[in-house]
């Protein structure tokens, strides 16, 4: 059984001019110790999906349908107190901006010990010892001294290490990392990615890595889900998605990334921009920008389906191009 199962998740944002559907019928699962990358452009719904899993959706956003199961147990409908127990203890969180996810008024050590005391049976003294160990584990030099410093005394990369230490406090089985390296420089980014990978291996924690950076995904994730306009366009093993993209959106996205060593005059470009939530086209949400769109794409919405047989190595994609049955029979519906 998968550690995290998300089934037909739907997130709505009610507004004065009607309700917007920000995440629409999204299903995926994360196995024990697996790293699932969730990639997409701004507004694709990837961060909202992450926030929904950990129960941190901010009103007016609300879960309007579907189920989220952690370790076989439904967590999307739990009362606040019960959810709070799971969050922190079993699910850790790493946010994008390390400056806003730490409290500037408390020392780093106090923030760590507070979390440790909340979720474990350690004594005050033991918690402090554990806090120092955690700081050492995430590669902060002179941890015994730095544990008593405030967040502003740390650099950006060091702060992100503290945030990771904070997420690891209670040895969670799942970590939701929302753009953990976006605010960092490339050299620091490489350090943080290496650290995340090592820690997950050592602690056996699964990770849901939400990012717009395909490079980070390619290096870190086991599987990738590509989101577009609130839906999953394609999901599969990382090598399949990165090297042999199936969905035209994924293909366009990969082609639009400049690479060192690739001499091209023009990058592949996807014309237009992602539709606004109040104007998602009928059928496949990508059809107006898709170079391969045909009549059915404008009319009927494709569902995620396996592409190459049903093996574990297969990617699933929501695209009519891969619907053999329809191609054989010409048209249907």
């Amino acid at each position: 059984m998968a550690l995290l199962e998300v089934e037909n998740l739907r997130i709505e944002i009610p507004g004065r001019r009607g309700t917007l559907v920000a995440v629409d019928d999204v299903s995926f699962s994360i196995g024990e110790g697996e790293v699932l990358g969730v990639v997409g452009e701004s507004g694709a719904g990837k961060s909202l999906t992450g926030a929904a899993v950990i129960g941190l959706l901010e009103p007016p956003c609300r879960i309007a349908g579907g189920q989220i199961r952690f370790d076989g147990r439904r967590i999307d409908n739990l009362p606040y107190e019960k959810l709070r127990r799971i969050r922190g203890r079993h699910i850790g969180m790493v946010f994008q901006d390390p400056l806003t996810s730490l409290n500037p008024l408390y020392t780093v050590g106090r923030q760590l010990t507070e979390t440790i005391l909340t979720h474990t049976d350690l004594s005050e003294k033991g918690a402090r010892k554990r806090a120092i160990e955690l700081l050492q584990e995430v590669g902060i030099p002179a941890a015994e001294r730095r544990v008593d410093q405030y967040p502003h005394e740390f650099s950006g990369g060091m702060r992100q290490r503290v945030v990771i230490a904070l997420a690891l406090c209670a040895n969670p089985r799942l970590i939701i990392a929302d753009e953990p390296t976006t605010a960092l420089d490339v050299s620091i980014q490489a350090q943080i990615i290496t650290l995340l990978k090592r820690l997950c291996r050592e602690h056996g924690a699964a990770v849901m890595l939400v990012t717009h950076d395909m490079g980070v995904i390619a290096e870190t994730a086991d599987r990738v889900a590509v989101m577009y306009a609130g839906r999953i366009a394609e999901v599969g093993p990382v090598a399949e998605v990165v090297l042999r993209a199936k969905h035209p959106y994924t293909e366009g996205l990969m082609g639009s990334i400049p690479l060192v060593g690739h001499d091209v005059e023009q990058l592949t470009q996807i014309d237009g921009s992602m539709p606004r939530l109040n104007a998602i086209p009928p059928g496949c949400a990508f059809n107006p920008r898709c170079p391969k769109a045909f009549e059915r794409c404008r009319r009927q919405r494709p569902e995620l389906a396996p592409v190459d047989g049903a093996g574990a190595e297969a990617s699933w994609t929501a695209c009519w191009l891969y619907d053999d049955a329809a191609q054989r029979s010409g048209t249907d519906g």
């Binding site: 980014q189 639009s256 060192v260």
Partner: protein
């Protein structure tokens, strides 16, 4: 580049020369604190003796991590800061020496800037047409309302928007479209030289591709010269003819782009290249670099990079290295000068679209 370029172009036809440029910022505590608490004046050297040249019609990029001074160089070049030392020569005229609008004006319209954040660089209360018309009016390039409107429409179409979009306000556009408006505004005064400070780093990759493609085709059509500032090495590789790598205010290495990426000399350049994520899944592990950029207020002695450099020796701690000519540019490193660095040839990758 099939068609003949708009202007005569030779390799030695330099448009911009930056010589020994330096900028110090005063970050001292307030006067009263200095007086009462005996605190000293503190100077931050943001740019330290930077020299480079940009041939006409080419793109020169500056890369480096946050705080390395690359944006300060951009601002110095367009005249938003006054250099503490050094010269910025535009077609033989030292711009830092020009006084007031009268002298600087005619030159100013020939260079323009595109900023990073398209949400902050456009006035939200102005219609797009007025934003783009502002440089036209300021430099009195076209007169008459109808003529200005026609020129604005032309500019909007040039950057891939519709002439009718001029009636709208900036908030009605997405990030990528706003950056197109910034580009249209920059092009309004018919500049020859554009300084682009991280023009795509606030944008999604697919939108970034649109903007980079647009910038490249505009360069071809109009014979533009770019100074491009970025922290993204892949973007820099794609767009540049020449690349300069900055570290803590100094230009540690510059050279012809392809050559620099293939055979990086300076240990810092090598480190940056090793830190690029591997998107082709070749299994190459990123080599994370130990340490972080030190504070520019108290930079390390000698070569600024020595505390993080695996090849540092006594001399590197003592003495700042001088620029040394390489096959395709210049590098400032004692280890390179003494020939004690291992040769690195980065394997050429397969061309795009292998499947």
């Amino acid at each position: 580049m099939a068609e003949a370029p708009a202007r005569a172009r030779r390799e030695d036809d330099l448009l911009v020369e930056v010589e020994h440029l330096a900028k110090l910022f005063d970050v001292s505590p307030p006067f009263l604190n200095r007086l009462l608490q005996g605190e000293k004046r503190v100077l931050l050297t943001a740019v330290d003796d930077v020299s480079f040249r940009i041939p006409r019609g080419k793109t020169f990029s500056l890369v480096g991590e946050s705080g390395c001074g690359k944006s300060t160089v951009a601002r110095l070049v367009v005249g938003l800061h006054r250099p503490t030392r050094g010269r910025i020569v535009f077609e033989g005229v030292d711009m830092a020496g020009l006084e007031g609008r009268g002298e600087a004006g005619p030159l100013r319209k020939r260079l323009q800037m595109i900023f990073q954040d398209p949400y902050a660089s456009l006035n939200p209360r102005w219609r797009v047409a007025d934003i783009i018309a502002e440089p036209i009016r300021a430099h009195r390039l076209v007169s008459g309302r109808r003529a200005i409107a026609a020129r604005v429409g032309e500019l909007l179409e040039q950057v891939g928007l519709a002439a009718a979009d001029g009636e709208k306000f900036p908030h009605e556009f997405s990030g990528g479209q706003r950056q197109r408006i910034s580009i249209a505004r920059a092009l309004a005064s018919n500049p020859e030289f554009l300084v682009c400070d991280e023009p795509t780093s606030a944008l999604d990759v697919s939108v970034q591709a649109q903007i980079l493609n647009l910038m490249k085709s505009l360069q071809r059509e109009l014979g533009l010269t770019y100074l491009f500032i970025s922290h993204d090495l892949a973007v820099v590789y794609h767009i540049s003819d020449y690349v300069g790598v900055m570290y803590l205010g100094r230009l540690v290495e510059w050279g012809e782009a392809k050559a620099l990426f293939r055979r990086p000399q300076h240990p810092y350049t090598r480190m940056l290249l090793d830190a690029i994520p591997d998107l082709e899944m070749t299994g190459r592990a990123r080599t994370p670099v130990a340490g972080e950029v030190p504070s520019p207020i108290a930079p390390p002695s000698g070569c600024h990079f020595h505390p993080r450099c695996p090849f540092a020796e006594e001399r590197c701690r003592r003495e700042a290295p001088q620029a040394l000519a390489t096959a395709a540019g210049e590098v400032s490193c004692h280890a390179v000068a003494e020939g004690r660095l291992p040769e690195v040839e980065r394997a050429a990758r397969a061309p795009a679209g292998e499947d």
